[in-house]
Structure formats: C-alpha cells, structure tokens
Assembly symmetry: C2
Homo-oligomer: 240 residues x 2
Amino acid sequence: MAQDLDLAQPSAEDTLGRLAADRDLLGRAGTAQRVAEVLRDRIAEGALPPGTRLSEHALGAALGVSRNTLREAFRTLVDGRLVVHEMNRGVFVRTLGPDDVVDIYAVRSALEGTGLRAATGAAPERIAALEAAVAGGEAAARAGDWAEVGTADLRFHRALAALAGSARIDEFMNRLLAELRLAFLAMPSARGLHEPFLRRNREIADLLTAGDTDGAAAVLERYLDDARRMICDSMRADGA
Amino acid sequence: MAQDLDLAQPSAEDTLGRLAADRDLLGRAGTAQRVAEVLRDRIAEGALPPGTRLSEHALGAALGVSRNTLREAFRTLVDGRLVVHEMNRGVFVRTLGPDDVVDIYAVRSALEGTGLRAATGAAPERIAALEAAVAGGEAAARAGDWAEVGTADLRFHRALAALAGSARIDEFMNRLLAELRLAFLAMPSARGLHEPFLRRNREIADLLTAGDTDGAAAVLERYLDDARRMICDSMRADGA
DNA sequence: GCATATTTGTCCGTATGTATA
DNA sequence: CTATACATACGGACAAATATG
C-alpha cells in the first residue's frame, strides 16, 4: 500500500482557492480521491490538454497506483465532465465545442444572476469577498501576471454565485468553472481573454455595494455575452 | 463476464420518465454504470432506505458483480449525493437533514425561477410538456394513485426548469430531485405530501400560458416555501 | 481494555472482448 | 485479415481499519 503519486510536485502556490473543498472536511482522503484531484489539477493547468488519452497502464505506472484505483478516480472525473469515457476505448480529456460554451454561459447567467438578486441581505463578508477578488485581479494585472488575473476573475464570479448562500449552488458553480477552464486552455492569450473584463468586474462590484442590483445585472449580462462570443469566435476560427 | 443483475426485476411501468437519459445515447453501458442505475432505482423506490449500509460483499453477490465493479458504481452514486462514503467504513444510503431540504429548495427556486423567466420565447413543445405533466397529475389524483401524483409533480417542475433550454440545468435539476426523493421517503403519506400542490401546479401552468410570468413566479414561490416547510416540520417531528 | 472477526482499501494476475494498425 | 494493444471484468490476496464479543 505504498502510494507514490510522483507527479504531485511541490505546488506551493495553490494553497488558496482550492476547488476541492468538498468532502475531505473531516476524513482522510482515499487514494482514488487523491488521484482524481491530481488529475483535475493537471487538466486545469493544461498539462493534460483536451483530447489526451488517459491510458490506464501508463497513468497507473506514473502515479504508482493500480488500474482499479485509477478507474475509480476516472468515474469521478467523468461525473465532473472533465473527461469523457468511450466504451472499450478509454477515457480522454474532454474537448469543448461552441455549443458547450453557449450552455455553460447560460448557466453562469442563471447562477450569477441568482446571486445578484440575493445581494441585498447577503452577509457582509460575502460582499467583502467580491471586493477582494476584484482588487486581487487589478493587482495581478498591474504585475502583469495574466494567469493570476484569470483565477481572480473566476474567484470573483464564484463569489457572485455564492451570494445566494447555497452550498449546492457553490458546488455546481465550481464544477461549471472547472469545465470552462477546458475552453480557456484553447484560447491563444490569457491576457486577451481576461484583461477586457477587469473593468466590468469593478463596475459590478461598485454597483452592488451602492445597492444598484439592476445596474449590476445589466453589466453582468453584457460581460457574459461578450465573453461567450469571444470564446466561441476563437473556437470557430481555430477549427477553420 | 456473465453479468446477472438478478435484482433487475421486470419493471415494465417505468419506461416513461427515465431519469437516466444521460450518456447511453449512442453507446452500450458498462457494468458499473448499469449497477449504479439499478441501485439508484432501488434507492428512489425506498427499497434501500436512508441509512442502509451497502455492503460490498453482499451487494456484489446479489448483483453478480465483482467488488471492483461495485466500487466504481459507488463513486457515481457518491457524486450524485445519493450515498455517503465513510472512509474504512463503507457506503450508506444518504439521510437528509432539514438543512439539506432548505438548501435543495433554495436551488429549486433559483432553477425553476430561471425557467419561468425564460418562458416567454420558450419553444411551444416545452409549454406543452408543462400542461401534460399537470394533466397527468390530475388524472392520477382522480385515480387515487398518489405515487404517480408525486412523479407527475416532479415531472412538472422538471419541465419548469427545462424552460431555460439548458442541458446542464436539466441535469442539475435531475440530480437535485433524485436527492429530494430521499426526503420524500421519510414522509408519512404520499397523498398528504403531493395532493395540496396539484392546484398550485395548475395555477402556474395557466398563468404561464396566459403570459403572466410574474403571477406564476409568485405562486411558485409560495409552493416552494410551503413544501419546504411541510417537509422540514415533518422531519423535526420525526426526530423528536 | 483486549483479542478476534469482519469489512474495507488496494494491489496483482488473468481471461475475454473490442478497436485499430 | 491478422496481429497487437488495450479496456473490461473477474477473482484472489493481504494490510489496515473498524466492529464485536
């Protein structure tokens, strides 16, 4: 029972924003769960780009786990839509199409819109989380760290949905944004993808603290429309 | 590779309303997937009530599958929140608490509300699905089939969320209602649980076809508040 | 509190079917 | 069309954790 998990490099910088704040709250994690988390991270980083075949033999050897354990981890990833399972062919890192992006942004609109409508009367620390995310994005932009701008952007919109105060909405939003990362990976430049929206996030946060939910909702809708269009256009240009 | 799946009895009546219209669209299903589906059905029926331990040895023998395959099926059920996995202790059918019910109804409000707001401009066949579900519930009530009234109710509200036209919202709603069934199982009478809400569903459908989305939204909110209260009250009375 | 039985966690080996070069 | 590689699924093994007397 000696698990190596060799591929788990230091990774000291991702202590914050851990998306896996799920069910390891009180209990230790099993091997399959840890394997799933490692693979999730590698996929999000782009180390395992869309279309990559996840060979049971090769991955099992690399991670030092048995094929049985690996297959259990795969089930979790399939449920998270990060990989697809083709019968008798194996599992592959998912490749998103424009239709997926359209649907994801429709759900974002529903979830973040729900959060906005719940903003009046939301706990003040949730509003503070919004402000912190916006400020973090702006600081990262000044430092030229566009990857960090991207994660701050996701953090801001996660905080937007979290205004609803529902654990299940939070989890759904997490899964959704993890899936959306697959589309981000196909984009040419992180800067071009995230920079134009820094100002919109600031606007939304300011309008919200001023109590203007309708105004914030309007800006949010334009944000989502523009971002969706940008990603879909890039996808179609890439495919042509 | 001879799979029995003995527990899969005829079940001729559940051809409609199959919740598992997920990913067996074009490919055959693997054993683990079929096992997960069987267990899902048994849990929804109440044959495996909340708190039941799902022993690997016993279940594997009963279903004629190996422990490895069974464990893969468990992963899927864990992700669907139908069972909980306690490390080194096994998996148990989930027991919902009042806080879970509160959260589920908050999400229902968000999802069904989103559907309502998208009603104007939704495809006419989606509106027809609403009407069909309401009519089905009324017919079942006249026949005294309260279990069927319950599934018609779920079908109606699933159709409500489906007005948004998003595949991911549909899937989320399915998972949510499957989870909610766990709470229904603990209620004393299916009739008392569903009968009071037949009239509300009718009202919502009529207001929607008349184009009064705001009116429909108001009725929906009262529906959800009352249903949540009823279930939570019953839970607390049960636990005391 | 301790010894024992049961059950899970994880690995390995292997037979069979399926897809692909 | 055959050969090869791989996924599917089973069964057995053993350590570790948990439940039981």
